[in-house]
Symmetry: C2
Subunit: 331 residues, 2 copies
């Protein structure tokens, strides 16, 4: 069997309470006894039993993370940020993915909540009422979605979309296509709105080409509509769509960026591997993850209300080769 507190206590010739204290509240134990205890604990290879500990304290030392889809390269980066910070804070990360299914999301919240001290929900798809219902009683932080009364890490999606439109405008584009993401997605709406506002402000024609799944296939499927829209540039909801679009257009023999400029969103790894490398908006995924953990810890410590929202994290346009000065009409 494993070494228990009692074993250490016996070996160090003190009571179990003293050993317990030496481990969790070192300042409340005499320095010399503490040294002796810590030493024997190490010698015996003592490892506290988390189950027993949390049975009393109610704390688990675990942090739950729920993402819609790990095979979407967006999320592993967020998770990496979360894990890094969680690890620093001596928290173990418990990760689950919902497979993009809101019902699974609800189930997983229910399953995970009792096993963790707090929950980070990335790209939660659940309607706000269901969400509020599911997380009631748990410390929760939303990433890339904000709802009144729930803590969140917001990212400046609208600002990113604005930068994309401004960039294209600066390059001389005056008629720009918008490929929007799913209407159910919070960030999709923010990005579309941001693009619309920027276009209006600059006097640019924004043609709404369509609404598609945020995937490679979604992008391929919308290529025809993009061509039909007769635009000189396109901004899309995310990089996956953009790469699918590029792929299909490539098949049609459309030269990018000579004949069409294209801007993605997220700056996932593949964005730089595309032909041509994608101009896109960097989404601070790791930072968002780290911040989510900090926010959660504040919440647990009672140091902040779920309500008061900090500034959204900035997004940043990364210019690569998929955008160019608008010439197709002038040549």
């Amino acid at each position: 069997m494993a070494v228990t507190l009692a074993d250490v206590a016996r070996a160090a010739e003190v009571s179990t309470s003293t050993v317990s204290r030496a481990l969790t509240q070192p300042e409340r134990v005499d320095e010399r006894t503490r040294a002796r205890i810590l030493d024997t604990a190490r010698r015996l290879g003592y490892r506290p039993n988390r189950a027993a500990r949390s049975l009393i304290t109610g704390r688990t030392g675990n942090l739950g993370v729920i993402v819609p889809d790990l095979t979407n390269p967006f999320f592993p980066d967020v998770v990496a940020g979360i894990q890094a910070r969680a690890h620093q804070r001596a928290l173990t990360t418990l990760l689950a993915d919902t497979g993009d299914d809101p019902d699974a999301e609800r189930d997983l919240i229910a399953t995970l909540a009792p096993q963790v001290d707090g929950l980070v929900l990335c790209g939660a798809r659940l309607p706000v009422d269901d969400l509020a219902d599911a997380v009631s009683g748990s410390a929760v932080v939303l990433v890339n979605r904000s709802e009144p009364g729930l803590a969140s890490v917001a990212v400046d999606n609208a600002g990113g979309a604005r930068q994309a439109v401004e960039h294209l405008h600066a390059l001389g584009h005056r008629r720009i296509g918008l490929v929007a993401g799913p209407a159910t997605s919070h960030s999709a709406r923010e990005r579309s709105d941001g693009a619309r506002r920027a276009a209006a402000a600059l006097g640019v024609d924004l043609v709404e080409v369509g609404t598609v799944a945020p995937t490679f296939d979604g992008g391929r499927g919308v290529a025809d509509a993009v061509l039909r829209a007769d635009v000189s540039a396109v901004v899309a909801y995310n990089d996956a769509i953009t790469i699918g679009l590029l792929h299909r257009l490539h098949g049609y023999g459309v030269r990018i960026p000579a004949e069409l400029s294209v801007v993605g969103f997220d700056d996932i790894q593949i964005a730089q591997m595309a032909h041509p490398p994608l101009t896109t908006v960097r989404f601070p995924r790791r930072e968002a993850g780290r911040l989510a953990v900090d926010r959660l810890l504040d919440l647990l410590a009672g140091e902040r209300d779920p309500g008061d929202e900090p500034e959204p994290l900035p997004t940043e346009l990364v210019v690569r080769a998929s955008t160019a000065v608008h010439r197709s009409r002038t040549t």
Copy 2:
């Protein structure tokens, strides 16, 4: 406070043991009492306290998964397979990634092991002795690595490499480059060996072009060496390398597959999005994940020894556009 067993027992007018039994060994309780208990439990919103339960049973209901790097698209698919099966078996998945750092791997094994019923180690990088040491006392299954005495899910890496070489041979290639993966990687060695044996058997010249990191950048860096090797085809350790290679060669104006045929390994999602779409060897990632859970459950049930190894999972060549009949010398 939360509803406890005792609350349910009181409300249903039975003892706590009966409630406990009704929940965990339903057949040992009278059908009618059981119905009543289950009913009141539901009505009261009873949720068993896992900490208390596992304090006694020693079981946690958790399954630990350790991967080297979630941002490598290979692993999320394995994890998806694991999660799917684990969920069916009412196990929660606890996931951690090591960031490709063997020390972190050791730490994580130590941290996770006491919180889970069993551990699935994907692409473990730890030397065999350290590994055996770290996992002693835990139920463990290795994915894509096998070590004597440890249970594992093996995949036929050598067979995949053989198929790749045979394919190129069939297309007329007689001088083929091999870009190997890191020497520390078990599967990298298996793939290289498989390719060598196949080449020898077919009388094909296999030119060892180099050993690189299994990444996009690794592939880019090896492009010059590939050209210098004067081969008509290349097989690489994995798709990431292959895509990097393609990318750089593209920049050089080398036409693929007209001037050089290229075969990857893994069939990650991006493989079909590459220009041209990659001929590659499909690695059954989800299947491997599912099987790992089954294996682990067998282990826990004492139904199989860690020693007896089942057949490795088959790999399968997927032919796409990055390979073609060898003409560059004949035209």
